[in-house]
Each structure stands twice: as C-alpha cells, then as structure tokens.
C-alpha cells in the first residue's frame, strides 16, 4: 500500500519548476489595417431591376466602392486592390477561403449580397477576421433603393466600430456655406451634403448673407446667422419643411449660435453698445437667460456633451483667449495660456478635448487641447483657416481654409478640409462650389 503511494508521489514529483515568462508588448504598428472589400454579390434578376431603377450597372460594386472610399479616407484602413482577390464574391460571402485572403495580406474581409425584395433594397453584409478565420459581424438592411449610398455608409460605420472600438462617422451630413462669385461680391447659400460630398442640396437661395450654420443634435433643425434688414440675427431652419424663423427678439445683434446637447436650447452671443455677452434661449418657452456679464467681448460659446459646462472665447485678459465655465456662467476659468490669439472653441463630442483656431505670427492653426487647457496640440497650419467642427465620434475635425489672392485680386478660394487627431490624415472635402463654415451632423442612423 505504502509502496503504491510512494509511486504516485514520485510520478507527481516535479523535477524542475519554471516560472512563466512574461513579455510586455507596448508598441504596435500604426499603419492602416489591410482590409479586403469584396464587391457585394447581386443575382442577375435583381441586377436588372436595379439597373432600371437606379441607372447603376452593378449596385453591389457601387456600394462596396462607397465602403472602400470611406475606409481609405478614415486613414485607419488600407483597402486592398480588387484585382488581387482570388475568390468569387458570391462564394466568399457564404464561406470565405481564409487562406486565399491571408495570402494577399488581408486581415479583415467584407463580403455581402444585394437583393431586391418587394421593391426594396436588401443588403446583407459580413465582416470576417481573416487571421482568426471567424465571422465578426453579420447584418442585413432593408430600405428604399434610392437610399443605397446610405447603406454603404452604414456598413462602413459598423465595420469601423467593430475594428476600432469607437463609433463611426460615415452616415452623417455636413452643412456649410456655399460661396460663389468674386470675393468682393460673394453669394453665400446654405448647403447640405453627405460627409463624402454627395447628395449636395442648397437650403437658401443666396439673397441674404448666411454664416455659421450649426446642426441640432436631433438633425431636424439648423441654426445659423443671417442678415435681416442689414442686422445680423440668429435663425432656425427646419431642414425637412424648409420653414425658418428668427430666434428671439433681441434689440441688437445676435451671432455665433450653437445648440445645447439636448437640442432644447440655443446658446449665442448678443452684442449691444459695444459689449458682447453670452445668452441662451429655451426653444420651447422662448425664455432668454444671460450667461456671462462682463465688459469684454465674450463669444463663440459651445456646450460640453453633458451640458454642464460651456467654453467660449473672451478678450477679458486683454487678448482673445479660451475660457471654460459652468453652463450657468459661474466659475469662469481661463484655459488657454499659449502665445497668440485663441478663438472658435468647440467641445469634442467625447468630452475630452476642445478644438480651437489659433492665430500666431500671422498664421492660423487648428488645434486641440484638453478641457483643462493642458496638452495643446496644433494639428494644421495655414495662411487662413478656421471654424473647426467635430465628427460625431470626436476623432476628425472639419474646417475651412482660404487661399491668398494674387496682386490682381484673383486666385481666392475657400475649401473644406478634414483632419484627424493624429494630424497626419488631412484631406480636402470635395464641394461643387467654394465652401466655408462647415458643421458636422450626428450619426443619422442611431
């Protein structure tokens, strides 16, 4: 008996014990992730129907092209050349041969299928982890066929969210001021478009000057500055109905409007007798509240995403700087202390950063700083640029940039640009005309 126990003990007796080796990996690769966007497969019957309805030969390829373009623009993904794909799209959607996709260095694969069901567009897509050989997400959308571009954007949002860990910003719109004509006699119209520049529409006729349009978080309304009888006033415009109205009956000039995060209030500047202060107006009961009361110029207010704080710029220190206060105007603190003038502060939807325009030694910068003023980072520098607006996920900024005129007054242009927080992914946003004062909407498909 004892002998047997001893035998068990000897078997169990470890000769050597090794501690587990740990290796810390603290750095990684920031180059764009290689993604294969396979054209969405369409059966021949649906293909014919879509061709008649939408005048598009291959709707599946068109939608995948939208996804591909969005991913490229994000700067985080590298869609691979379709010519290198080895597997047929309709087979890949059912059962991808992961070895084939790994061979072309794809780390993720997007496949899908488009069909016409009861006169409606049905898009099914799957995202695959090529290296793990598993499905990461599978979704299907049904909508009217004319919404096919939005489907492409929604697919990109889902892919982006699944692979980066934060919400996307592709199914969004941008409102801006479309500009035409010579610099001395510009015609300015309110315009709205998809974030990729498609589906451009004008909201005003260009009879009156319009400035600083801002989206409501509910997406139905836009607030902007327009001139009525040569007096600048803040207006509200319902995008769906086209109805517009003046915000409040102020005895002076109102400007720099912006919605509160719940969309129920408008915060703006009101100037009278050379003094400018910040006011809010409740859109339901039209009650006006004074937020700042200082003999200096306080303007460009913006709410924090929780609505508890506001940031604005003021020259109360002698120079234009950025200040943060509680949303009722108490506890005002200056947060910008760098050299130069700071303006147009905008609180990030993530709540962690404030974007601003900075003027220093004759150059304009778009930058970000933390909400306590620390960690200032200048993302881009140019002759003239301003008015940053955040993408809904707080990763990208859109702003406008003007070019210099030559000695004959020619060569002037104003264009929209976007830049991400890394400062490396700067891109021109295509618009039909010159453009300024962009404002990014929240996600349409929340």
């Amino acid at each position: 008996m004892i002998f047997r126990y001893l035998l068990i003990l000897i078997i169990l007796f470890p000769i050597k014990a090794f501690s587990l080796i740990e290796v810390d990996i603290t750095r990684g690769n920031l180059s764009p992730l290689p993604v294969a966007v396979s054209p969405l497969s369409v059966d021949s019957e649906s293909k014919e129907s879509f061709e008649k309805l939408l005048k598009k030969k291959d709707i599946g390829a068109e939608i995948s092209l939208i996804v591909e373009n969005n991913l490229v623009k994000s700067g985080l993904f590298n869609p691979l050349d379709k010519d290198a794909f080895l597997q047929n799209p309709n087979i890949a959607h059912l059962k991808p041969r992961f070895e084939d996709w790994a061979l072309i260095k794809a780390q993720a694969l997007i496949t899908g299928e488009v069909t016409l069901v009861d006169e409606k567009l049905r898009v099914e897509f799957r995202l695959w982890d090529v290296l793990a050989g598993k499905e990461m997400i599978a979704l299907a959308f049904t909508t009217v066929p004319t919404n096919w571009r939005r489907v492409g954007h929604i697919i990109t949002d889902k892919v982006y969210e699944r692979l980066t860990g934060e919400k996307g910003y592709f199914d969004t719109r941008i409102i801006y001021v479309a500009e035409e004509g010579p610099k001395t006699n510009r015609i300015k119209k309110l315009a709205i478009m998809d974030q990729d520049g498609f589906n451009n529409k004008y909201l005003t006729l260009g009879n009156e000057l319009v400035l600083t349009p801002r989206f409501s978080p509910t997406n139905q309304m836009v607030t902007y500055l327009s001139y009525f009888k040569n007096l600048p006033r803040v207006y509200l415009l319902d995008i769906e109905t086209g109805i517009q109205e003046v915000v409040g009956d102020f005895p002076g000039m109102t400007f720099a409007p912006r919605f509160s995060p719940d969309g129920k209030k408008i915060i703006m500047s009101f100037a009278m007798d050379g003094n400018s202060d910040i006011y809010t107006m409740d859109l339901e009961n039209r009650v006006v509240e004074r937020i700042t009361n200082h003999p200096s110029i306080d303007t460009s207010p913006s709410y924090s995403p929780d609505g508890k704080y506001i940031c604005f710029n003021s020259d109360r220190s002698g120079y234009q700087q950025i200040y943060v206060s509680k949303s009722n105007g108490s506890n005002v603190k200056r947060i910008s202390f760098g050299k130069g003038l700071y303006g147009t502060p905008v609180w990030s939807p993530r709540g962690d950063l404030i974007a601003f325009t900075k003027l220093h030694k004759g150059k304009f910068y778009i930058g970000v700083m933390r909400t306590n003023g620390k960690g200032e980072r200048l993302l881009t520098e140019n002759f003239y640029q301003e008015a940053p607006s955040w993408s809904p996920n707080g990763r990208v900024l859109i702003f406008y940039r003007e070019t210099k005129t030559d000695s004959q007054g020619k060569g002037f242009s104003a264009k929209l640009w976007s830049i991400d927080l890394t400062g490396y992914n700067e891109r021109l946003v295509e618009t039909k005309t010159d453009a300024s004062d962009p404002s990014w909407s929240t996600l349409l498909s929340n």
Binding site: I2, L9, F13, F18, R27, N29, L30, L131, T164
Partner: protein, 270 residues
C-alpha cells in the same frame, strides 16, 4: 479505515508542502566561483530588470561614488576596478568573451585577492572608526540600502537560474520587435481605460502557437468594455500574423509557456 485516512492525509500534506515550497532549488547545483564574476553579471540583471532600474541605478551610483572616493583617497587603483565593470549590457557573445577573460584572470588569483582585500580592509577601517559614531549612525540607512542591493546582486549560480527561467535581453528584444510589427493597434480606444490584454500561449519548438488564452476573458463580454474585445482581438491577430514567433532555438522547456502582455496605453496617449 483510520489507518488509510492517516496515510492519505499524510501524503496529501506532503504534496501540499512540496507545492508550497516550490522546487527549483532542488535542481540547483551551487557552483563555487570567485566573487568577481558575479560583479560582471550584476550589470546584466540591472538592465534586464527594468522596473528596478531607477532605484538600482541610484544605489549603484552611490556605491560607485563611494568606492571611487575610497579608492582615490587610499591606495587602491580605481582604473583596474573600472575596467572590470562593463559600461553597456554585454550581448551574449560579449558575455562569453568576458567570461573567458575572467577565466584568464583566474590564473592569477593573487592579484584579484589583493584588490578585493584592499577594498574590504578599507571598509572595515571606516566601519570601525570610533571617532565618528554619529556618521556611522547616519549611514545606517545607506548601508541597509547597499545591503539590500547586495542581496539583489545575482551570483553565478543564481544567474543560471535566470537562464533557466527567463529569456535573455536579446531574445526578448527579438520577440518584441517581431510583435511590434504585427500588432495594428485599434486607434479608437479610450486611452483613459485599462488597455492591458494578457495572453497566455503554449508554443511548439518552432515558435508556432498550439494554444492561446486571453487571461481576462470575462472582461470581453462585460457591458461597457466593448473596446477590450476589440483590443484583445487585435492582439490575437498580431500573434497569428507573426507566427511562428521568433523564439530562441534552444531551451524549449523554459519558453514553451509564454505570456504576452499587450499594453496600448503608451501608444494611444502619446
């Protein structure tokens, strides 16, 4: 019946005791080598034990300074002592060279003994200076620190243990460099959160992965921790992309189980 219970419980106790004390010391064969070789190896451990580096550096500097002062003020030749301390971390080849050099020196043990003697005699003198008791009391803290430091020093026999238990600096660097290139960090992660993913691997001798396990697996499905899943997946992709891992060609037993700690905080904050 009672007899069986007693036997069973006593054997259980023995097994528990064995597990509690752990057994690597049983495999260890103490080697008697001149102390000077252990000094060579201290530099390596100080560099490899990165978390202790700032503290250790201070102590080393203090000790060096003290030694220098002592050696300058007395007759001991500081240059020779310096020569024996490498400035940089010796690579494995260099290490071998140095060991060879030191082995040569061993042929002349008298000289080494003299040097050591000079220092130790001086130390003795200073420690037992009856005219400077206050200074002795003040130094008590420093002395404790040095003692701790000395106890942290790795002797030749302990170093063998390190060889058995861990990867060398160059082996670790090779593996890190490979994984740095494969890991695409998801840039949208909230950098204020805990972004550490620990993955335990079981490896084949060629470095390919037999089995992997995300240690905080439960966190992947917790509400509000969706980013952790994204991060863990990116780390797993990196491992798969890098296969086979650049592991040492020898000593499979020591690295067949490996833990990789993927930490994205530095990258995302920076």
């Amino acid at each position: 019946m009672i007899r069986n219970v007693i036997i069973s419980s006593s054997f259980h106790l023995v097994v528990i005791l064995i597990a509690a004390i752990s057994l690597p010391f049983l495999a260890k064969t103490p080697i008697d080598l001149p102390p000077i070789i252990s000094i060579e190896l201290i530099q390596i451990t100080d560099k490899t034990n990165i978390p202790f580096a700032p503290k250790a550096k201070k102590i080393i500097e203090k000790v060096k300074k003290k030694e220098k002062e002592k050696l300058v003020s007395k007759q001991a030749p500081p240059k020779i002592v310096k020569k024996e301390k490498p400035d940089a971390v010796p690579l494995p080849d260099k290490k071998n060279e140095k060991v060879q050099k030191l082995e040569k020196k061993k042929q002349n043990p008298k000289k080494i003994d003299q040097e050591v003697k000079q220092v130790s005699e001086f130390e003795k003198k200073e420690l037992f200076d009856p005219d400077n008791i206050a200074a002795l009391i003040d130094k008590s803290k420093e002395e404790t620190a040095e003692t701790t430091f000395k106890s942290n020093k790795v002797t030749q026999s302990q170093d063998k243990n390190i060889d058995v238990m861990g990867l060398s600096l160059s082996e670790e660097d090779a593996l890190k460099a490979q994984l740095f290139g494969c890991w695409s960090i998801p840039l949208g992660l909230p950098y204020s959160e805990n972004l550490l993913v620990r993955i335990k691997l079981k490896l084949k001798p060629d470095g390919s992965v037999i089995k992997y396990e995300v240690l905080d697996h439960a966190r992947m499905n917790k509400p509000g921790q969706g980013f952790y899943k994204v991060l863990a997946e990116s780390a797993l992709r990196a491992i798969k992309l890098c296969q086979p891992l650049r592991v040492p060609s020898t000593g499979y037993e020591r690295w067949k189980d490996l833990q990789l700690n993927f930490d994205a905080r530095d990258m995302l904050e920076g």
